[in-house]
């Protein structure tokens, strides 16, 4: 049997896998022979075979011919699978099929016309809009409705006028599709055109959705009424639309009026209904409901919002809604606080702090003894409340059980100090001499954040503390206050016995841009600790001082990749594009991470890509490390190295790593190349 006959035989094989593989092999066949067979395979009884046929036809080397055949396949009344596959293939082919499809919008077959409209909508190309508008007048109902629907997908404000005309026709399905399209397009339409359609119950949902795009207070009134609609579907649509109007309000005044009308007219019954919706609604609808409850500002919904806030995805909006409700919600939460459990208590603390509910102070102070999550939230809330009575209990948390609680206590005390710094300083200063190191460190942090002169002596003493943690904290604080004032302290800290302290100090010197930074950091390049050396290298880079260039160049040859990477990045930071020679050299560093960093830095450079640079990077496409090949492929695409197209194509042939293959493909497309059939 000759190969051609063998192929045809395989395509008819009763075993679907044999057929599927035969379809896959069609990529190797001459285009002339394979297209007919591919089209036939699109109608195969097995969905796996049809799917493979779609994949193969997408890479057919003569797209116009393929398109013609696919459009012709839309006429295959007898083979639903073929027609659907043709639709899918045409949609996936994208914009290039649009001109051919537009020729068939007046096909004698209404089914074909509908498929063509579905495909045009699926592609979403605005060139289809005029044809879709014409199709609104199609004699066939389905075609008209599909045209209306697809206009909503493709968009185009030009079509709105025609869609509005459809609303005047007594065709419920057409009116519905047109309303949906108008809503999807989002352009405001005259209220008078759509409001009367509220008389038709089946259209109400779609009308409400359109009203959500009309920044007109009359629309607000209609929607507020719609929230009271007995039908859940309509009630929900009106609620979503109201929230949409709120977000897209044309002026602050409109927004305020909308809010006032919602607050005024959405009563307890509707609030209860919305709260009930909240429990069952999917995520996409939960957030608008939460927002509407916030606008309604009825404190009876506070607990429902608290409950909703347990879900992290809704939490932020639910808390914002509680804050919008303001003091009444705060009072409600305070009254209920003792009955709340676990996560709800913590969320309530957050909300009370944000609302600024001073009456909650006592409950928050008691909650400091609660489990860590609640304790931390209560601490933060007390900070926001500026609760000076909380200073003492908060200070007890500074050596607390969990870091989160300590962190929250530190933040709270710093916040409280903004209004009551004398009380906070009086309480915290003695803690800097406590026996427990973490308490001393936290006290120093607070004094540092407060930044007043009377705390500075304490911080300076802490820089000599026996605990390296306390010394680090003190140095950070002094660095924030005024590096230059304490430069002698920082000079000394470079000789600290703790590597962590030296590391921090090196970083601070770099960030200080002090005139002595290079001089002080230079000896740190020989520190015994790798991290300190790296911090010194980065510090030199951050100093921006050209005097550091020679030192950084010397570190490029460091055995350790980390130092070489730090040196490379620092050198580029100081010299910018002038570091080209060093970058090129680093491409052949024995540590592939260094080479990869060099490629990334080259990619970010502003200067042009030289021929030598391009060649060196292209060579990396053959490196044994996949990450390096990936970086090289990305560089060649992003930096538009057209001369590398052949190298990319050649590598694609042999590349086995899927991520690298994908990157090569993307880069080639970026460069205007494409994969030939042999590359599929």
């Amino acid at each position: 049997m000759n190969p051609s006959e063998a192929l045809k035989s395989a395509l008819r094989d009763p075993n679907e896998e044999v057929r599927r593989q035969a379809v896959e092999s069609l990529v190797e066949w001459p285009a002339e022979e394979s297209l007919r067979l591919l089209i036939e395979a699109l109608g195969d009884e097995s969905w796996r075979v049809r799917k493979t046929a779609i994949d193969v036809v997408l890479s057919y080397p003569d797209p116009p011919r393929a398109i013609d055949e696919l459009v012709a396949a839309l006429h295959a009344d007898e083979n639903v699978g073929l027609r659907n596959s043709a639709v899918e293939a045409l949609i996936r082919m994208g914009e290039r099929v649009v001109p051919a499809l537009l020729k068939h919008t007046r096909d004698p077959s209404h089914d074909v016309r509908k498929f063509v409209i579905d495909v045009l909508g699926g592609i979403g190309d605005p060139r289809a809009v005029p044809a879709l508008i014409d199709a609104l007048a199609d004699p066939d109902d389905n075609v008209r409705c599909a045209a209306a629907e697809m206009l909503g997908v493709v968009g185009g404000e030009d079509s709105v006028a025609s869609l509005l005309e459809n609303l005047r026709r007594d065709d419920l399905l057409l009116q519905f599709s047109s309303l949906q399209a108008i809503s999807n397009i989002g352009k405001p339409v005259p209220l008078e055109e759509i409001a009367p359609l509220l008389e038709k119950p089946l259209l109400r949902k779609a009308v409400y959705e359109c009203l959500g795009n009309i920044p007109d207070l009359r629309a607000v009134d209609l929607l507020v009424k719609g929230v009271c609609d007995r039908s859940n579907v309509n009630h929900e649509a009106a609620a979503m639309a109201l929230v949409n109007l709120f977000h897209h309000a044309p002026t602050p005044e409109f927004r305020r009026t909308l809010e006032a009308r919602v607050k005024d007219r959405i009563g307890p019954a509707q609030v209860a209904r919305l709260a009930e919706d909240l429990e069952n609604a999917p995520l996409g609808r939960r957030i608008p409901i939460v927002e509407l409850l916030g606008l309604a500002a009825d404190p009876s919904a506070a607990l429902a919002l608290l409950e909703a806030a347990v879900d992290e995805e809704v939490q932020r909006d639910a808390i914002a809604a509680l804050v919008r409700m303001g003091a009444p919600a705060g009072e409600k939460l305070t009254r209920e606080f003792s009955r709340l459990q676990g996560g709800r208590r913590a969320i309530a603390c957050v909300a009370l702090g944000e609302i600024g509910c001073l009456n909650a102070e006592r409950a928050m102070i008691a909650a400091l003894e609660d489990e860590p999550a609640v304790s931390a939230a209560a601490a933060t809330a007390l900070g926001k409340l500026g609760a000076v009575r909380a200073v003492k209990p908060l200070s007890r948390l500074l050596e607390g059980r969990s870091e989160d609680v300590q962190e929250a206590a530190v933040g709270a005390l710093v916040s409280i100090a903004r209004r009551h710094h004398a009380e906070v300083v009086a309480r915290i200063k003695p803690c800097a001499c406590d026996a427990i190191a973490v308490l001393r460190a936290n006290a120093v942090r607070i004094l540092g954040e407060i930044g007043i002169e009377e705390g500075i002596e304490t911080i300076q003493m802490a820089a000599k503390d026996e605990s390296p943690v306390v010394r680090r904290t003190a140095l950070e604080a002094l660095g924030r206050i005024d590096f230059a004032r304490f430069e002698e302290v920082f000079a000394l800290a470079l000789t600290d016995e703790s590597a962590e302290v030296r590391q921090l100090t090196a970083a601070l010197w770099g960030a200080s841009h002090h005139s002595r930074a290079v001089e002080e950091l230079a000896p740190m390049l020989e520190d015994e600790d790798l991290w300190v050396r790296c911090a010194a290298i980065r510090g030199l880079g951050e100093s921006g001082d050209a005097a550091a260039i020679g030192m950084l160049r010397a570190r490029l040859g460091a055995d350790g990749g980390m130092e070489a990477i730090a040196a490379l990045e620092s050198l580029v930071r100081i010299t910018g594009d002038a570091a080209l020679e060093e970058l090129c050299k680093a491409l052949s560093h024995s540590d592939t991470e260094v080479a990869r960093t060099a490629v990334d830095l080259m990619e970010r450079r502003e200067g042009p890509v030289t021929g030598a640079m391009a060649d060196q990077v292209a060579d990396l496409l053959w490196h044994e490390e996949a990450q390096l090949r990936l970086a090289a492929a990305r560089f060649l695409g992003n930096r538009q190295v057209r001369g590398a197209l052949a190298s990319l194509a050649a590598r694609w042939e042999e590349e086995t790593d899927p991520e690298v293959r994908e990157t090569i493909q993307d880069s080639m497309q970026h460069l205007g190349g494409s994969l030939t059939p042999t590359h599929v």
Binding site: T495, E497, S498, P523, E528
Partner: protein, 299 residues
């Protein structure tokens, strides 16, 4: 620093040490390593001391011989940490407050007034002192107390820089809490004035601590020493005796380079600079002999 022969095991009589015998080759390797790292030199007669000190570390790491320990120091990823531990274990730092009374009397009654007068004349209001090899801090705190007692430098900025190579000693110095043996030479008035009782110990007060800053510095590392400011007085007592001659010379040269013209160098009462350095003049003060850098610039 000093070696304490009273440490258990120092005479080789403790259990478990019998298994660890350091061969001459191993002694040479580890001795040379220590000397390179921190300048401390163990003469041939000190082999048994080194053996006892390092044997403890072998047990801690479950190593069976000194050569393996040597390789641990060279190649293990925790070698930096181990070096710090080794230094802590070979340096037993016997010191106390107000050690060497005569020299301290010279310091407070002769050197401080001279420095004060000179600085007043120059319009200089800063006093910089370096306690090189400060151990657990008794020496720099002693100097601070004497300066405060003199009353001469109340309107001066006083900085006492103190360094040691032992992490353990630096930690103790920063903590500033001392037991009774540290006060064997201290007059009660100093304890009353400058310490706060903490059970059976005493903590140095903050008004003394604020003058003293501690640092981890190896005196053989010239690059780090070059970062220090110029000093008016350097105290380096009973430190260089543990270095070999070339190292002594290098260290003294580094110290000299950091001393201001006319600045003082105080060594241990049994130490001298003969055969080590000609850069200093020997001053015969009433209470003691001290070294001084010439006031005129070196030729």
């Amino acid at each position: 620093m000093s070696f304490d022969p009273n440490i258990p095991g120092a005479t080789g009589s403790s259990d478990g040490d019998a298994a660890f015998r350091m061969s001459p080759e191993e002694f040479r390797l580890i001795r040379d390593f220590i000397q390179t790292q921190c300048g401390v030199y163990f003469g041939d007669s000190s082999q048994f001391i080194l053996e006892k000190r390092v044997a403890r570390l072998l047990r801690a790491h479950r190593l069976s011989n000194f050569r393996d320990y040597y390789y641990y120091l060279l190649y293990d990823r925790r070698k930096a940490e181990e070096l710090a531990t080794l230094i802590d274990s070979i340096t037993t730092n016997e010191t106390y407050f107000f050690r060497e009374e005569k020299q301290l009397k010279a310091f407070s009654s002769e050197i401080l007034p001279e420095l004060h007068a000179r600085k007043r004349e120059q319009g200089d209001r800063a006093l910089h002192i370096w306690s090189a090899g400060c151990s657990s801090g008794e020496e720099p705190y002693t100097l601070a107390m004497l300066i405060m007692e003199s009353g001469l430098f109340r309107d001066f900025r006083v900085d006492i820089f103190a360094n040691d190579i032992s992490h353990r000693m630096l930690q103790a110095a920063r903590k500033g809490i001392y037991g009774p043996s540290a006060f064997r030479s201290a007059e009660p008035k100093y304890i009353d004035r400058y310490f706060t009782e903490k059970g059976e110990s005493w903590r140095i007060n903050d008004d003394v601590r604020k003058f003293v800053s501690f640092s981890h510095l190896n005196l053989v590392e010239r690059s780090k020493i070059s970062l220090l400011r110029t000093m008016d007085l350097i105290c380096c007592r009973n430190v260089i005796i543990y270095y070999d001659l070339p190292t002594k010379k290098r260290v003294i040269q580094s110290l000299g380079e950091k001393l201001a013209p006319g600045g003082y160098l105080l060594l241990g009462h049994s130490e001298s600079l003969i055969n080590i350095s000609n850069a200093f003049e020997l001053r015969h003060l009433k209470n003691d002999l001290v070294y001084q850098r010439p006031r005129k610039p070196d030729a």
